[in-house]
């Protein structure tokens, strides 16, 4: 196997990758911006290289600096984590050209799934159920025609979008006329591409996604689903595995379809297929994410697997050693994303961490990028740590997470821990009656009933 892995990322995911590398006997190189000189990933790696200033476009997104860091440290492989350059096909190609092994999917797969409209067409041709939608919109008149034939409400989406960005829910023709040009300009600015299309808008869907792994020998394994319906503005906050909404039969059916589809495209490494589940129990394909995802630990816990280690073994050319289908989840896992933000206003809360105590005990896992006395810079994602629990049943996992949240002390910055506590105390959540609208409903009710706070 290769001997030294450069981790082209920061925060908890960089720490997560360092851990698996170390367990596999691989040496690690952290890259960091100036402001991250004392960050946890910088401290934990065997070597650390400063690649630029705090601005990510000049450090974590700056391909030549990362390649040069690999050159001067003699790293022979690169793990991109999630975000930053993880789904950038040029980065994967540049690594290959410079003799570096890219630990992740092939660049052509990133291109294939990166454009929403072509991804929908591909998914359809592979036999995956897709949500009703349209071709690309030509102009505003064409938009009105297409929206009316699909039927309001509709979702106006950017073809180049992803990760919940670049979407507008529209209830009427008038609303469409009002936002169309703005949406087009936004898409051009955010994704460098102003192609828009419509999808049927589902009122209260669940977000269900399936984890897959593919190796160089052409084996594909579907590792069950995660339910990620607890979202705020399309950003996931709390995830669990398995989903209470799927029957064994549905799970096996979809898994078999996904396995066939991914074998057909020759998918390599870890990936996630996202679906919406409507109130009638219909699963429809949303998008494919060719990377490791933030919420991968819930799958790891119920499947008893280390997904990062598998990615590394796959990149080394080793075949998957997992038993053939179906793989059944064991117990129940929940993950809470701990963000440095105000739990009510969601305003970012960077700063110095004055005290830190992360929960422990049986069945509790912490994937964190912070330490006491460390600093949460304002330049990056607000995710500072993930609290993950594993128990025999969902009810036990909820009890364990409540306990773990109570034990966790993060001083000096605000975090969304109180928000997680509200979610976990909610009867509808306990009963598993959740949808992507859950958090908005919860917040709306809270706004009406919450006392005015003076600070």
């Amino acid at each position: 196997m290769f001997g030294k892995v450069l981790i082209a990322n920061r925060g908890e995911i960089a720490v997560r990758v360092i851990r698996s590398c170390r367990e596999l006997g691989l040496r690690t190189v952290a890259v960091h911006s100036e402001i991250d000189a004392d960050a946890l990933h910088t401290r934990l790696a065997d070597e650390a290289i400063c690649i630029g200033p705090a601005d990510p476009s000049r450090s974590y997104l700056h391909i030549p600096a990362i390649i040069a860091a690999a050159e001067i440290t003699g790293a022979d492989a690169v793990h991109p984590g999630y975000g930053f350059l993880s789904e950038n096909p040029e980065f994967a190609e540049t690594c290959a050209q410079c003799g570096l092994l890219f630990i992740g999917p092939l660049p052509e797969q990133m291109r294939l799934w990166g454009d929403k409209v072509s991804a929908r067409a591909l998914a359809k041709s592979l036999g995956l159920p897709i949500i009703e939608g349209t071709e690309l919109i030509e102009d505003i008149e064409d938009a009105v025609r297409k929206a009316e034939s699909l039927g309001f409400p509709v979702l106006l989406k950017a073809s180049g979008g992803g990760g919940g960005r670049g979407m507008h829910v529209l209830q009427s023709k008038e609303a469409l006329r009002a936002v169309f040009e703005t949406a087009r300009a936004e898409s051009r600015a955010a994704f460098g591409n102003d192609s828009l299309y419509f999808e049927k808008f589902l009122e209260r869907p669940r977000h269900i996604e399936f984890q897959i792994l593919g190796d160089m020998q052409g084996n594909i394994r579907v590792l069950g689903e995660r339910e990620c319906s607890i979202q705020r503005r399309h950003q996931k906050i709390l995830e669990e595995a398995p989903s209470v909404a799927l029957t064994d039969e549905m799970r096996d059916d979809v898994s078999a379809t996904i396995e066939r589809a991914m074998r057909e495209v020759g998918y390599l490494s870890a990936g996630t297929l996202e679906f919406l589940l409507d109130e009638r129990g219909q699963l429809t394909f949303l998008e494919m994410n060719p990377r490791i995802q933030v919420e991968h630990p819930v799958t790891e816990l119920v499947m008893g697997i280390d997904l990062i280690a598998e990615q590394i073994r796959i990149a080394d050319g080793q075949p998957l050693e997992l038993p053939p289908q179906p793989l059944a989840p064991r117990g129940h896992a929940i993950e809470c994303r701990i963000n440095a933000e105000d739990p009510d206003t969601f305003a970012p809360s960077p700063g110095m961490i004055t005290e830190l105590h992360m929960a422990g005990g049986t069945g509790v896992r912490v994937d964190s990028g912070i330490f006491g006395g460390g600093r949460v810079p304002a330049y990056y994602d607000p995710l500072v740590a993930k609290l993950i629990v594993h128990a025999r049943t969902r009810a036990q996992a909820i009890a364990k997470m409540r306990r773990a949240l109570r034990e966790t002390i993060i001083g000096g910055i605000r975090t969304n821990i109180p928000l997680h506590q509200r979610i976990l105390e909610h009867p509808a959540f306990e009963e598993g009656r959740i949808s992507t609208g859950f958090l908005d409903d919860l917040q709306a009710r809270r706004m009406l009933t919450a006392p005015v706070r003076h600070e």
């Binding site: 100036e34 400063c50 630029g52 450090s59 600096a65 050159e71 001067i72 190609e93 540049t94 410079c98």
Partner: protein, 149 residues
């Protein structure tokens, strides 16, 4: 002393009005220090030599000089490998004691097979060379100490 935003604003105003660079106020065990950055000294610029061979180019950037009495450091604007001469057997661009002028090439930092010339931004004299030829340097690493004339 509880930190009060209005007090802080007042301190900042005072700093400005009196044209000070630093104010420190202490009361019991609490301490507030308000200071402003001295205007940065010029350091060096890097010039890109060749067209990038790979997607994603190495941009020219300005390395910051760091104040240290009347001396300044030329820092590396890139991660890469430090070379003191234009070719393996060539003479070094500069040596200790050499005078330098703005625009003069001081060294090369190689990143992704691109030879990036690092130019001086100030008039002065090389006092110390802080990195050995052929050694890796990180972004912001000090390369030369310069006495500014």
């Amino acid at each position: 002393m509880k930190l009060d935003l209005d007090q802080l604003r007042a301190l900042i105003r005072l700093l400005d009005e009196a044209n000070l660079t630093e104010i420190e106020v202490s009361h019991d065990d609490d301490r507030i220090r308000v200071c402003r950055q001295p205007s940065p000294l010029p350091g060096a610029t890097a010039t890109e030599l060749a067209a990038p061979a790979t997607p994603g180019s190495v941009p020219a950037s300005t390395a910051s000089g760091t104040e240290d009495d009347d001396r300044a450091y030329v820092t590396s604007p890139f991660v890469g490998t430090f070379y003191r001469s234009p070719s393996p057997n060539g003479d070094p661009f500069v040596d200790v004691g050499d005078p330098i002028v703005p625009g003069q090439v001081l060294c090369i930092v190689e990143a992704m097979k691109l030879m990036n010339e690092i130019e001086a931004e100030v008039d002065g004299t090389i006092v110390e060379i802080l990195v050995e030829n052929g050694k890796p340097v990180e972004y912001g690493d000090r390369l030369f100490r310069v006495e500014i004339s």
